[in-house]
């Protein structure tokens, strides 16, 4: 489950990229986040991976409270999610195979697991023939698929993808979307950030639209499933404390 309450993020430059955001995504959901360029989508993504921290509000992902999480717990949290970055972030000093294998090494997978899972992922993303190439020897679309393979290889509970098909042609986009849908069918929560209205419209999934750091529409909020938000007790009480704390500082 992903739960954001009253989250605001202001960058050092003074840009308020996310404002008072409330959002709940249940386990097993497939969600699109759309919005204009600069509307705060990537900021939301970075908040969810704890690459950055908000100055206000609380974020819970996979039972990890990203506000109070201990430094030492962060790697464990990040292993529970699979991330596809908008700029891929491949390891430029190693080849395609090693890039995907690295995600497995991080979780302490055995040599056997790595040798079976990595080729399987590469096949799934159509990269089998390029496994020896270095990232800079690949096209944008191929790099993107490596990034996706890396995010999927550990079979995380949640997949977060920032523009995973931004550099792909229609056929490839459809394939990746099919892949994400299959993975979602198997129970993984999928959050996809995208510009592509066409993709959003053909997929018939929950769509969250952002503008100027706020959620301006949420198709899922109308559905009974995502509608009524029931907070766990500890979250409620923590929120109360936080509100009190904030009042005190005012």
């Amino acid at each position: 489950m992903i739960l954001l309450e009253d989250v605001s993020k202001t960058y050092q430059t003074g840009v308020r990229a996310v404002k008072d955001l409330d959002l709940r995504i249940n386990d097993g959901e497939f969600v699109f986040v759309t919005g204009k360029s600069g509307s705060g989508k990537s900021t939301l993504f970075k908040l969810l991976t704890r690459e950055i921290t908000p100055e206000e509000g609380s974020i819970i992902v996979n039972d990890f409270d990203l506000d109070s999480i201990r430094r030492r717990q962060i790697p464990r949290f990040r292993r529970s999610i699979g991330v596809v970055f908008q700029d891929f972030r491949l390891l430029n000093d190693r080849n395609v195979y090693e890039n995907v294998a690295f995600a497995q090494r991080v979780i302490g997978a055995s040599g056997y697991e790595i040798r079976t899972n990595v080729p399987r992922m590469l096949k799934l993303t159509g990269l089998s023939h390029k496994y020896k190439n270095m990232p800079y020897e690949l096209s944008g679309g191929e790099q993107q698929r490596v990034a996706i393979a890396r995010a999927l290889v550990n079979q995380p509970r949640v997949i977060l993808a920032d523009e995973p098909t931004g550099n792909l042609d229609e056929a490839n986009t459809a394939e990746i979307m099919k892949l994400l849908e299959d993975i979602n069918q198997m129970g993984t929560t999928v959050v996809v950030i995208t510009h592509s209205r066409a993709m959003v419209e053909t997929m018939h999934k929950r769509v969250i639209t952002m503008d100027k750091g706020r959620i301006v529409s949420d198709s899922g909020a109308l559905q009974p499933r995502g509608g009524s938000v029931v907070l766990p007790e500890d979250v409620k009480s923590r929120q109360k404390r936080r509100i009190i704390r904030r009042r005190e500082t005012l």
Binding site: T49, E51, P75, R76, F77, R78, R79, V83, F85, R89, L90, L91, N92, D93, F102, A103, R105, V106, I107, G108, S110, G111, R150
Partner: protein
Amino acid sequence: MRTFLYSLRQGLANLRRNWLFSVASIATVSACIFLFCLFYSIIANVRGIVYTAETTVGITVFFDKDADDVRKAEIRDAIISKGGVKEVVYTSADQAWEEFKTDYLGDDAEELSAAFADDNPLADSDSYEIFLEDIEDQESMASYISGLPGVREVNYANTVVSVLKSLNRVIYILSAVIIGVLVAVSVFLISNTISVAAAFRKRENEIMRLIGATDFMIRAPFVVEGLVIGLVGAIIPLCAVFFIYRRVMDYFMAWLSGFSSDAGLIGLVPLERIFPELCAYGLIFGAGMGFIVSFFTIRKHLKV
């Protein structure tokens, strides 16, 4: 184990990518450890020489001309009663003359000694030679004996030994200073090598962190890099020492035998005895330095 192999491979990759710095670091560590071996060997050998000198050369006591056997026996008792005496050996005048002849006159002994005939030139040179339990007591014992009635002269290997001892102290201080400077240079260079590697891989490390790598996984390759620098930096000079040491000892031995016939007894330390010590200290020194420096450098660099 898996992580270890992974770290090892990455660490070696770091070294290769950054080879100029790596070579410089290894070279300084090598120089450092080579000098350490050199000084260690010198000190060990000088100490060996001092030890043999002290244990084989005792205190020699000569008597007054008018001292009779009773007096000499009293002196002996007085010496023994002081305590700490291992052995008191009496050398008669005749024995002293015989020894002198063989030691110093060599091949010409017969001709030269014939000139003296039965007239022993060392007639009054009968003596006690005293060996102590503890060499350190030699000086106080010597001064005690010289105060006894009937004693004409007391000799002991004081001068040579104390010169060697102070020489050793000088070498000790000198080596400490030089090695200290070299350690500082090595630390600086290793630290720089690791910093460069870390800067080079900053983006990579950041990505690793974002996909869930622990600090340990991110840092281990750099520590391995430092460790390899230290170990290679130790192994190179140790190999050099292994091949050079014996040669130097042979030269030295040949040089010494020009002075004295029993140079073999001089107390040089053979390679077989000193090499294990040098290996142990050298490897610990190198590996320790590489490990500690890279550990702290990388900790500073990858704090976030």
